[in-house]
């Protein structure tokens, strides 16, 4: 970083980022604004999920970074992007858990605020990741963060809420595009529940179907982020899952193109290959291994571990 009195040269990449914010409506400078925003988004994510596990991180810092992410998310949403994508294998949920103390506290501490693939929003400008128009109408802008379940629920409903919403709404998208077996939902719900050491009743699984319509894309992302507030360490991460388990178990994947940028959203057919490249280029700095486009989006645990080592080591 900045050394002791040593002259620090900004490389060109950063030169484009410094200075006053360029209005997003400017033509040629829109790219640099988008680039700047993207970089700040990446940095913010890294900060949230990459801290010393020994002591509680500063709540003020967490709040400010969260606000930054929310703002960018808002902007992206207003620019026509919609639901976050299942992307960024290089932001591994799994190995991150190694770095954090599993302080499995009382359930009320929102233990399962899982870091889902959805949470690492695509690092490409989302306007290039198209979502089927049929889903656009489903988006409403009311947030109901604490929708309580009626009927038999196992504690903690608030903790499970974001998980189910994030997963189930994404899965709902898949469902709408192609009938997926309900076991997919069950898998998602169960795996989410595992982390909180509770076993959700079947009724819990059914409930979220009605919910996604009332959640915005932003709130899905934001649900997981503030989990940091209650529990300082990332106890919310699904520790023993890989993306494979979450996304592809019991889902009929034959219909989907496995571009990394699309995965389970099923919008593969509308994806331009360039978006995947763009995405991968952004991912490249965070990945220690070469990622080739159009490669099935599967990484096993050891590779994620390795990436995490690189990230933490830097």
């Amino acid at each position: 970083m900045l050394g002791k009195g040593g002259k620090r040269k900004f490389d060109e990449h950063e030169d484009g980022l410094e200075g006053k914010v360029v209005s997003p409506t400017d033509g040629p400078s829109k790219v640099s604004y988008t680039l700047q925003r993207q970089t700040i988004f990446n940095i913010s994510l890294m900060k949230l999920y990459n801290h010393r596990p020994l002591t509680e991180p500063s709540l003020q810092k967490t709040v400010l970074i969260n606000n930054m992410l929310r703002r960018i998310q808002e902007e992206l949403k207003q620019e026509g992007s919609l639901r976050p994508m299942f992307v960024t294998a290089s932001q591994p949920a799994d190995p991150l858990s190694d770095n954090f103390r599993e302080a499995q506290p009382a359930f009320s501490h929102l233990a399962s605020q899982p870091l889902l693939p959805t949470d690492f929003v695509s690092t490409t400008p989302l306007e290039s990741c198209l979502t089927p128009a049929s889903l656009l109408e489903d988006d409403t802008f009311c947030t109901s963060p604490t929708v309580q379940h009626d009927g038999p629920t196992k504690p903690p409903p608030p903790a499970l809420q974001p998980v189910k919403d994030s997963f189930s709404s994404a899965l709902d998208e898949i469902e709408e595009l192609c009938p997926a077996p309900t076991s997919a939902e069950a898998v998602a719900a169960e795996t989410a529940v595992d982390d909180s050491k509770d076993h959700a009743s079947e009724s819990n699984v059914q409930k979220p179907e009605g919910l996604p319509e009332s959640r915005t894309a932003e709130s899905k992302l934001m649900d997981s982020l503030p989990g940091n507030f209650e529990i300082t360490t990332s106890t919310g991460f699904l520790t023993d899952l890989t993306l494979d388990d979450i996304l592809f178990a019991d889902i009929d994947t034959s219909m989907y193109d496995f571009d990394p940028c699309t995965s389970a959203t099923g919008a593969a057919s509308k994806m331009a290959p360039v978006s995947a490249d763009e995405l991968l280029k952004t991912l490249a700095p965070y990945s220690s291994q070469p990622v080739t486009p159009n490669q099935p989006f599967k990484m096993d645990l050891t590779e994620l571990d390795h990436i995490m080592e690189v990230l933490v080591g830097s």
Binding site: M1, L2, G3, K4, G5, G6, K7, R8, K9, F10, E14, L17, E18, G19, K20, V21, Q36, R37, T39, I40, I43, K47, L54, T55, E56, S58, L59, Q60, K61, V63, L64, N66, N67, M68, R70, R71, I72, R101, E102, A103, P105, A106, L110, P145, T146, P158, P162, M222, D223, P226, F229, E230, I231, T232, T233
Partner: protein, 464 residues
């Protein structure tokens, strides 16, 4: 007439430096707070290792009129120890976040010191005599056989080498879920407040087993949390009034008489955002890291990342004065965000209450103190002073290279862009690891204490 000196009328000279010389900084030695007591005779520092070191000013030597007394170590004690929160599996840091002195009531000195979770009241007392000549005890403490006592004598106190003892008199614990950032003693000298990220509690100095919650900004749903408390302070004269600042750049003034829980502010101080300066980092740099009332209580000063603002308590919609500390950093905010420097919490302080003394014929007027100079730290071990009257400012450096006593410090200048003049430093050459977060001004004299990472510098003005 004789008046108080302005910031640039004062010629600052190096006086002393305390702390290790080598560049390799031990984590525990990082200074985390600096505070003069009410007379200025004592100067306390707290560090990351949970220790408090108190320096005492030598009595002025009448023959050495060219300098004020030096500060020497008076007492050192371990205030806080690291703890472990078993529920969350997290360490609780022993770092001393704040020290606040109580006004002296008797021979002993009292101070409050706090880490993230626990506040302690320490009594520092001197012992320079000891009793001798007991009838039933030998000098070494062994008991004498009473039957051997044939005469009686009255024990007397004999002088001994000065011993300074620090003992914890009160421990105020278990009242804060979040990290304590401020403590402030009320003008009634009986109560004090402690503030963490989301709550402010009111304590009585004598009572440790309960405190009253007077501000709570924790939302019912933590997912909705977007703002935290960053600093709080009692009004210097009005014992029912206090302020607290937030991470969104607002200051709220509360009156404890209005209701038990001061969730509704009496006044809200906030400056509208300047649209021409908007950036991704606008919110972060607006976060207030310190708030300090002036001695009269008419004004208060806030420090955000790039500036110091003076507020008139009667005007809520904007500050009366704004001073740019290091505006050249505005174009570097992305890098400073990346390396976390943007989250550095700089403190600020007023000059001491050196009174204006006016001689007119046979009458001497002692006017109330004027808070006319503000001081705050920056990077590269620079610190800045702003004179509110002359509107001049100065940048000085705390470094061992300038350590010739009575040599006036040379003003420093940062070159923001373009051609760098001789003796100027370019922004890219600044050392962002050398930050001055904590400074303190002697309450009565022009003596300042400036803390670099692990060293404490003391500067004085050059007396005639």
């Amino acid at each position: 007439f004789l008046g108080a000196g302005g910031g640039n009328d004062i010629q600052w000279c190096f006086s002393q430096v305390k702390g290790a010389v080598d560049d390799d900084v031990a984590e525990a030695d990082i200074i985390s707070t600096v505070e003069f007591n009410h007379s200025g005779e004592l100067l306390a520092t707290g560090d990351k290792g949970g220790r408090v070191v108190i320096f005492q000013q030598e009595q002025e030597n009448k023959t050495q009129s060219h300098s004020r007394g030096e500060y020497n170590v008076y007492s050192t004690f371990q205030s806080h120890e690291p703890e472990f929160d078993y529920l969350k599996s997290l360490e609780i840091e022993e770092k001393i976040n704040k020290i606040r002195w109580l006004p002296q009531k008797n021979a002993a000195q009292f101070l409050l010191s706090t880490n993230d979770k626990t506040i302690k009241l320490w009594k520092i007392s001197e012992r320079d005599k000891r009793p001798e000549g007991y009838n039933l005890k030998e000098e070494d403490g062994r008991y004498r056989d009473p039957t051997t006592v044939t005469t009686l004598r009255v024990p007397v106190f004999r002088p001994m080498d000065l011993m300074v003892e620090a003992s914890p008199r009160r421990i105020f614990a278990n009242a804060h879920t979040y990290h304590i950032n401020s403590i402030s003693i009320n003008s009634d000298y009986e109560t004090y407040l402690s503030a963490d990220d989301l709550r402010i509690n009111l304590w009585h100095l004598e009572i440790t087993d309960r405190s009253f919650n007077i501000v709570d900004i924790k939302p019912a749903n933590m997912e909705e949390l977007t703002e935290v408390i960053t600093a709080a302070e009692f009004h210097p004269n009005s014992c029912n009034t206090f302020v607290y600042s937030s991470s969104k750049g607002t200051i709220r003034l509360c009156d404890m008489r209005a209701s038990a829980l001061c969730d509704r502010h009496s006044k809200l101080f906030e400056e509208p955002e300047d649209p021409s300066n908007r950036s991704f980092f606008s919110e972060i740099i607006s976060s207030i890291s310190d708030v300090k009332f002036s001695h009269s209580g008419r004004y208060m000063m806030t420090r955000d990342y790039l500036s110091v603002k003076i507020w008139d308590l009667n005007m809520e919609n904007r500050p009366v004065e704004t001073y740019q500390v290091h505006e050249y950093l505005r174009s570097k905010l992305c890098s400073l965000y990346e390396n976390d420097c943007i989250f550095d919490k700089f403190e600020c302080c007023w000059n001491g209450s050196d009174r204006q003394i006016i001689f007119h014929r046979t009458v001497t007027f002692f006017l109330p103190s004027l808070c006319s100079i503000v001081m705050t730290g920056s990077y590269n071990n620079f610190f800045r002073m702003f004179d509110r009257n002359t509107k001049r400012d100065i940048t000085l450096e705390a470094s061992r290279e300038n350590n010739k006593p009575r040599t006036v410090l040379k003003p420093r200048k940062v070159c923001a862009s373009g051609k760098r003049k001789k003796d100027e430093i370019s922004v890219d050459s600044l050392d962002f690891n050398k930050k001055i977060l904590h400074t303190a001004w002697h309450p009565k004299e022009n003596i300042i204490a400036v803390a670099t990472t692990n060293n404490l510098y003391i500067f004085q003005d050059k007396m005639n």
